[in-house]
Symmetry: C2
Subunit: 523 residues, 2 copies
């Protein structure tokens, strides 16, 4: 396949490195086909195509697994690790280090397990859509049993990771082998070190807000607009923050997501409600954040290389939250967005003041649905899922007991009584698509975003004034320069230290939420 080495002198200095990168690009190209199959399934595939799609995904997962685990890659990795030219180049070293990690992980899994997972997860997504529509947990339970068993088998092949910080008391469990896939190097023990104090600070804040006398109105959120106008406004916003429609798409799906097919083909989705027009904007900003990260990675030149790959889902989520919450729920953003909403979606939006829009964007109210939750209570949703999925993997929680455990936690953590699994444990796609170990990265992303945001405010004192005028390019340029363009050169926490001077922590997020919400609620 096409692969220009012209821009990378190390590739000319080291033959094994050059060949390794060619093989990685070829493997990534095949993997990108799988991504497109997934995108198509979630957006436009006809319903009767589900069985074929599961077979296609199974077949392709075998093909790509063989490509990523080819013995030649193992030989080339060993040659690169011994190659002076590679060892002298920080970028090449990072590429080889991360490719070694992926190769070791991939070779641990037998191809038939990989194919079985791909087929099962494709079919279980469709089973979940049905089960959720009918709120029928019993129909989903056998699929979840399979999914837990497959994830446990996968984790056993990977093996329990060694703690990186045993001196500090870090211990590891089987679940960590799954978490490590989404957040390299992360363990449940390390997540807890962030989640526990975060929870301790959020719980009183949320309680104080619940009993606050002052409360913003959500009326602007209940303002509708015709679909065409909403689509136009969402495209306008996505373009304004920097999404490149020449190399991407914005479509509709029941569960919005962003997928990178590959260089020049980055696709995101949103969803529209005729009655609540602004909901789509936050979703689009969120997915734009993911897409802008992907557009900022040097994929055209380095497709398939770790240096052109996102660091972790936590860092990915820090980018989506940055645009959705830190920028998208700020007064400066709404100073720009509100008149544009009125211009594109109709004069109904001109009736509201900036204060009203800003207040509505920051309403805090416990909600049954994670993706409709506010910035503060959202994290309690994550902690609930993080605890339950760990218990499913350890065996402490049986699938049949999941609805009960879920509902107990919703009551104790958010004060809500779940009467229907559709708005309870059947609401999310993640477990149904086989992703166990994924959820905590959402709140890790919130923490990272808060830490980056504080640095951005310091380093770009005019940033928010520029946002008032719709000038988002300098902000995107900063994120690209500091984060995107480096790919997987560093691990998440090292990147955070390099940018902010601090490791991962909960304090910046608490400062952000308290600093914003206390004035809004008169606390």
């Amino acid at each position: 396949m096409t692969d220009s080495a012209a821009t990378d002198p190390i590739r000319q200095a080291s033959k094994p490195y050059d060949e390794l990168l060619k093989l990685l690009r070829d493997a990534a190209t095949l993997s990108s086909v799988q991504t497109l199959l997934g995108w198509d399934q979630e957006t436009i595939m006809p319903p009767a195509g589900a069985a074929l799609r599961a077979d296609q995904l199974a077949g392709m997962s075998g093909v790509t697994h063989r490509a990523w685990t080819s013995p030649r890659i193992g030989e080339l990795l060993a040659a690169c690790e011994a190659d002076g030219a590679v060892r002298a180049d920080e970028g090449a070293l990072a590429n080889v280090r991360e490719a070694r990690r992926e190769f070791e992980r991939a070779t641990k899994l037998p191809t038939d397990l990989v194919e079985e997972m791909a087929r099962t997860f494709s079919l279980s997504i469709d089973a979940w859509k049905d089960a959720r529509a009918r709120s029928d947990f019993a129909a989903m339970a056998p699929w979840l049993e399979k999914i837990v068993a497959l994830n446990r088998r996968k984790a056993e092949f990977y093996g329990v990771p060694k703690p990186t910080d045993p001196g500090a008391g870090e211990t590891t469990v089987l679940y960590d082998a799954l978490l490590d896939e989404y957040e390299p190097g992360m363990t449940a023990w390390r997540v807890e070190r962030v989640f526990k104090p975060l929870r301790a600070r959020l719980t009183p804040l949320i309680a104080a807000i619940a009993s606050a006398q002052k409360r913003p109105s959500g009326a602007i959120l209940e303002t509708g607009a015709p679909l065409d106008a909403q689509i136009a406004f969402n495209r306008f916003v996505a373009e304004a923050v920097g999404f490149d429609f020449n190399g991407g798409r914005l479509d509709v799906s029941a569960h919005p997501f962003s997928e990178t097919v590959g260089p020049g083909d980055i696709r995101m989705t949103t969803r529209y409600s005729e009655e609540r027009a602004l909901d789509s904007v936050f979703t689009t900003l969120h997915e734009s954040g993911h897409s802008l990260y992907e557009q900022g990675l040097p994929k055209a030149a380095r497709f398939g290389q770790p240096l052109a790959t996102y660091i972790s889902l936590g860092i990915h989520e820090s980018q989506s939250r940055m645009w959705e919450n830190f920028i998208g729920r700020s007064p400066s953003f709404w100073k720009w967005a509100l008149p544009n909403a009125a211009r594109i979606m109709g004069p109904a939006f001109a009736k509201f003041s900036l204060d009203q829009a800003y207040g509505a964007a920051n309403l805090v109210k416990p909600h049954f649905i994670r993706v409709e939750s506010d910035e503060a209570t959202y994290n309690l949703h994550i902690m609930l899922r993080f605890d339950l999925e760990r218990a499913l993997i350890s065996g402490d929680l049986k699938v049949k007991d999941l609805p009960g455990a879920w509902n107990d936690r919703m009551k104790s953590d958010l004060g809500l009584t779940v009467t229907d699994d559709k708005i309870g444990c059947l609401q999310d796609i993640h477990w149904s698509m086989g992703a166990i170990g994924y959820f905590s990265t959402y709140s890790l992303g919130n923490c990272y975003a808060a830490q980056f945001w504080e640095t951005m405010q310091k380093e770009m004192p005019d940033m928010e004034r520029r946002h008032e005028r719709g000038e988002f390019a300098p902000t995107l340029a900063w994120l690209t320069e500091k984060i995107h363009r480096h790919g997987r050169r560093w691990r998440a926490e090292e990147l955070c230290k390099r940018i902010t001077g601090q490791g991962l922590g909960h304090e910046a997020l608490v400062r952000h939420l308290e600093g914003k919400l206390k004035p809004i609620y008169g606390l």
Copy 2:
């Protein structure tokens, strides 16, 4: 991959046959991924994704070529050919015979040539879109040079086929190796045996029509409708003729087509003009004809088997022309369609009489553009392309001389002076996507359709009265019973003999065109 042998006793009687069918299904599943990549490229891929798409198609063509040419398939074919259980079953024998044919053809091509063709053809489609938009033949010429060279190389690997009818004077040329891919067993010599007398009969008919005193009005074709209403009407028509939207899609593309991803996933496209609403209906009927054939093939149970695969492009085209022309331009169809057009697309269509609609649907007028041509002159377009592409492969025509040769023929055959390659030799996608040897199947399809139509009229005397009431199901059932459900059990001409008692010929098409057009034009 999933593959139930439960319904096929031969699979239980013969282990090699059972294993062969499993491998064919796996290979077809991988090929179906390539089809989806092509569909996506033509409908919704972002422009900047073109380079990646070429790499994906190249990578996948290597993967699928290796799957189809696996030595294990060769072993199993030999075992099946010697297996008594297989030899005693007509269906199994057909499967093995046709799988052998495909295997022999595929193994003749080296994988690197297959990959090179896939990459080149994917990129040249995009180059052609640009070149056509700018009417810039010079930009397209180097691509066409490559395409002709690659096709010649491919043909040389295949080798010149042996004539099947040397006693009748049949001779074969290199071009036949290409034609044979689209129309198994067909040769240029055999095509000429049909085209020459067809041309001899069409030319005076078209000339008489051109100077006829009586001429129907095309006013209804120049009636517009809002896009939404057109989409609704096209969906209504596609559903009425039997297209299953649960297992398929109808989208928009610049060049309408129908693609079978696989069982349960059959996708077609059409195109809309706000000013000429009915144009889309003929396109949709045409693509529906292709899709109905694919939906009638026993793909769910037999995916990957020749018994679940269309016979040839000629037979495929007979089905699209059946619905577009024989049914879709008949008075009985318009008796049903016209009031529905008025109901769904607006009262502007209620102003026209059935006679006016029928006359307009059968307007004959030489046109620069093949796909906008009428049923009669269309075939002259095909003969022009058939002659020119043979000359390109033989070397008698150089790519640089193509526009001149094209324009000469347009003048002599259709009386039109081409002033712009956009409406001349750059108009079709086929050569740009690497398909040389394809065009003649369109007119072969017209001939087959006419032959089937005469038999249908005899065997279903109430057919056209049913069409007046929108009852197309018995017609589709007949086509499914006689043609679709058999897959590739017989070659095209044998199927035609079984159904009509006659081999391929031009007479039925001439009878159809003269019988319809002479009264309309008062000849």
